[in-house]
């Protein structure tokens, strides 16, 4: 099992080594120690490997991840798993702003809380937050599923497109064009599947679903107050 100590070698060497891995590598499980809040740790991975990071990371950890599993045993800074394409990223602590921003696929699990703008402009990623999320989360969320076991801050889902937002706790307020929607059997099945993938035990019936009212999809003078 390869290990890498970021107190002894630079980040560039770690990321270069991880980028050099082929899809058939047998170095499939990496341990990274002493991240000490460094930025861009394990970003741009493109191989089915697991990278365990022992400690807190800075901005953009696991950014643009493809195929890999990245586990952060600590807190994550801004933009963890931003623009993730596939694979899984798990934060065992809390996540700062813009967690999973613009993510196109894969699964992001935050076992603590996530700050503002969680899932902003998400494009297909599934995000599960065991705690609560901050304001302006899922702003302009286009596709994918955001599942929150705790509460959501103000302006949830502002200007949302077709993403699904499942919240078990209280929502402080909804953003422009975001409404509560009736949960269909298909929605329940999607939620249950995401919870199962995340390894989270919770009843789908305890959640409420929020999504787009689709009133802002076209410019119209009657909606001028929303712009």
């Amino acid at each position: 099992m390869p290990s890498f100590d970021l107190a002894r070698a630079p980040l560039r060497e770690l990321n270069a080594a991880l980028h050099a891995l082929s899809p058939t590598t047998n170095e499939t499980h990496w341990i990274v120690s002493n991240p000490s809040g460094k930025h861009a740790v394990a970003c741009g991975l493109d191989a089915p490997v697991t990278v365990e990071i022992d400690g807190h990371v800075g901005y953009y950890c696991a950014g643009m991840n493809k195929a890999a599993t990245v586990v952060i045993s600590g807190n994550a800074g801004v933009g963890v798993a931003e623009n993730m394409m596939s694979g899984e990223v798990r934060v065992k602590g809390d996540a700062s702003q813009s967690a999973g921003a613009t993510g196109c696929g894969g699964l992001l699990v935050i076992e603590g809380n996530a700050s503002a703008r969680c899932g902003i402009s998400m494009k297909g990623i599934d995000i599960v937050v065991k705690g609560s999320i901050g304001p302006m989360s899922a702003f302009m969320a286009q596709a994918g599923n955001l599942v929150v076991l705790g509460d959501a801050g103000d302006a949830l889902g502002d200007s949302i497109y077709e993403a699904r937002l499942f919240v078990r706790g209280r929502v402080a307020s909804l953003g422009a064009d975001c409404i509560e929607k009736p949960m269909t059997e298909e929605d329940r099945a999607i939620l249950a599947a995401v919870l199962k993938r995340a390894g989270v035990e919770a009843r789908a019936d305890d959640f409420k679903l929020y999504g787009s009212a689709r009133r802002l999809y076209h410019f119209h003078i009657d909606n001028v107050d929303a712009y």
Partner: protein, 441 residues
């Protein structure tokens, strides 16, 4: 009823002129602002207000066609492991597939490649056709992140982080429903046919300190190979240039308000930002103050039309220029051959700017497959290559006349201004004087 003699002839107001009246009437009828494509149409101080002095007793010219005048430029020499080498200092600016048709994007790639320069993606991702036909392709990283993915990031030759553009500094992109075709919708992960409004701020960073970290991430993902550009709309060019440089940019793209857009509110295009002429010297000054002029590269865009414009921008301190609107015109935009159809759209060749409607008779700013098929990408690419050659030859002609063996040897000392405004903005003397308004001496 008889008309009284000596009646005052109709007199239009300068304030409430026919265009203003028409816009008030349109606004009253629709209740929505006017949206259009292109850049500022109002008269602005521009490169036309500058003249080159040429050689004289104190300056030796170079022989035209005999003595070499270099045109090459290398972009990304500051940090990137693989800088871009261009034969000419004129690049093709970012324009999206979505705002432009597939054949138009292909033609831009063909023309730029034939001329030895780069083209640029836009707000909507990279198409295989575009990559395939562009020998050097710059991949834009925009607030919307439509179509953004690490595979295309690695396929690109450079990455351009777009903070803003000259037509709308502080505004996001816009693509109306008529142009959100199934393919465009899929690339952008959007429902088909909606009016798409892109974000104006990046979703995961705010301010120059964050930008520095974002650049570090992009460099790490691409193993420090790609030059990283930062594009800003001209508004506070001194500070924006200094902050982009501080954040670690390899190249700064500075876009003046004459620079075009696919679609934006007319009020935004005409009333926000700085003319290109006013933006260059502050940006160059910022680089000089940091000791970075010519160490990172400055690309200037917004209203570049001729080789004279190219030469003037370079003389003021730019390393290269970028063209957008002019490139579309070279492809065939606003071609009089489509006059009958322009008239049906209520306009005329030379004035057509409703690019947002997707009805472009020339097949360029459309997603209608029938209209798009009108543009032959091979012939249109050839026209663009021809035009780029003319820009280069014209700039060389001027540079040789000023005694310069490379376009980059042009300097402000070669220029004078025809107006006080242009003299102040460009920081060169008013013609026939040694007066630079705003300078101590």
């Amino acid at each position: 009823m008889s008309v009284p003699p000596h009646r005052t002839p109709p007199r239009f107001s300068a304030t409430f002129n026919p265009n203003v009246i028409a816009e008030i009437q349109r606004a009253a009828a629709t209740g929505i602002y006017d949206i259009r494509g292109g850049g500022a149409k109002r008269a602005l101080p521009h490169f036309d207000d500058l003249l080159f002095l040429g050689a004289s007793i104190s300056r030796y010219p170079l022989e035209g066609y005999r003595e070499k005048c270099g045109t090459d430029v290398t972009l990304g020499t500051r940090f990137a492991r693989k800088p871009i080498k261009l034969k000419i200092p004129v690049t093709v600016a970012g324009m999206s597939f979505g705002s432009l048709s597939g054949p138009a994007k292909e033609a831009l790639g063909r023309g730029a490649s034939a001329a030895g320069t780069s083209t640029t993606t836009g707000d909507g991702g990279m198409t295989p056709e575009e990559r395939g036909h562009s020998s050097i392709l710059v991949y834009q990283y925009l607030p919307s992140r439509y179509g953004m993915n690490p595979d295309d990031l690695r396929k690109a030759d450079a990455i351009e982080i777009v903070i803003g553009q000259g037509a709308k500094p502080g505004g996001g992109g816009m693509l109306l429903g008529q142009k959100i075709s199934p393919r465009v919708a899929k690339m952008r992960t959007l429902p088909e046919g909606i009016d798409q409004r892109s974000a104006c701020r990046h979703p995961d960073w705010t301010g120059p300190d964050d930008l520095e970290i974002k650049i570090e991430e992009l460099r790490e993902i691409t193993d420090w190979e790609k030059p990283i550009y930062v594009k800003v709309g001209a508004s506070r060019p001194y500070y924006d240039t200094a902050l982009a440089a501080k954040s670690g940019a390899d190249v700064i793209v500075l876009d003046g308000m004459q620079g075009g857009t696919a679609a934006t509110q007319d009020v935004f295009i005409e009333h926000v930002g700085l003319p290109t002429l006013a933006a260059i010297r502050p940006a160059v000054q910022a680089l000089q103050d940091l000791g970075l002029h010519r160490k990172l590269q400055l690309i200037v865009s917004g209203g570049i039309r001729t080789g004279a414009d190219v030469a003037k921008a370079l003389a003021l301190g730019a390393d290269a220029v970028s063209i957008g609107t002019a490139a579309l015109i070279a492809l065939g935009d606003n071609d009089p051959q489509w006059e009958a159809e322009y008239k049906k759209l209520g306009t005329t060749a030379g004035a057509y700017d409703d690019w947002q409607e997707g009805l472009d008779p020339a097949g360029i700013t459309t997603q209608d497959p029938v209209l798009a098929a009108r543009l032959d990408p091979v012939k249109a690419g050839r026209r663009l290559a021809n035009y780029l050659s003319v820009l280069t030859l014209e700039a060389q002609t001027i540079a040789r006349a000023c005694g310069k063996s490379h376009l980059h040897n042009l300097e402000p000392e070669d220029l004078v201004a025809l107006t006080i405004e242009a003299a102040a903005m460009a920081g060169v003397p008013l013609a026939g004087t040694n007066w630079i308004p705003g300078r101590d001496k």
